[in-house]
Amino acid sequence: MTLTPKTSIRKTILAVIAGPVAGLVVMSAFAAPAMAQRDPAYAAARASGTVGEQLDGYLGVVGQATPGLQDMVNDINIKRRTVYTRKARENSATVEQYATTAGCQAIARTVPGEKYQAPDGSWKTRTDAQPERLPICP
């Protein structure tokens, strides 16, 4: 096949357009998970220690619960349970098993100052040291 000047130009134009478009698609695919951020009220509650990560994979209110705080925690836990239920089914596990695994990870990911539930059920404040976790945690 011989390239006429016309087709060669057409190919160059195609490459110039396709390159950045493909790049954008790839970039947006990577950026998508990072788009979902914590609600500012939730982020503030975590930082101030009014909510904490429980052993069972759900969020808990630490200390006195206000109606607003309890609503926010319930809302997040309903969403978590929906995700756990779907993922448990995909992995042939029970919702409880999946939730507990996520709880192990969520506690491990707490940052200093945040609250988490220790194996004895008490609330602890995360320090720079590793958190106290269930012996069965991965």
Binding site: P33, A36, I76, K79, R80, Q97, T101, Q105, I136, P138
Partner: protein, 62 residues
């Protein structure tokens, strides 16, 4: 002579008694608990990577 037989008999009875004790006393309950812990831990290990990805993908609720 009689004393010797008696001693041997006592030693034998002691050994039999001991082995009997070990067999009877083998507790089943702690072994069952151990297995349950192992099975649960194994399940959690299997789910660990997937759960980690789930937390990353749902950063708004974790």
């Amino acid at each position: 002579m009689n004393k010797r037989i008696l001693q041997t008999g006592l030693v034998c009875a002691g050994i039999l008694g001991l082995s009997g004790c070990i067999n009877v006393a083998a507790p089943e309950e702690p072994i069952v608990i151990e297995l349950n812990v192992n099975i649960r831990a194994e399940v959690l290990y299997r789910l660990a990577e997937d759960a980690s990805n789930t937390i990353d993908e749902n950063a708004d609720i974790f």
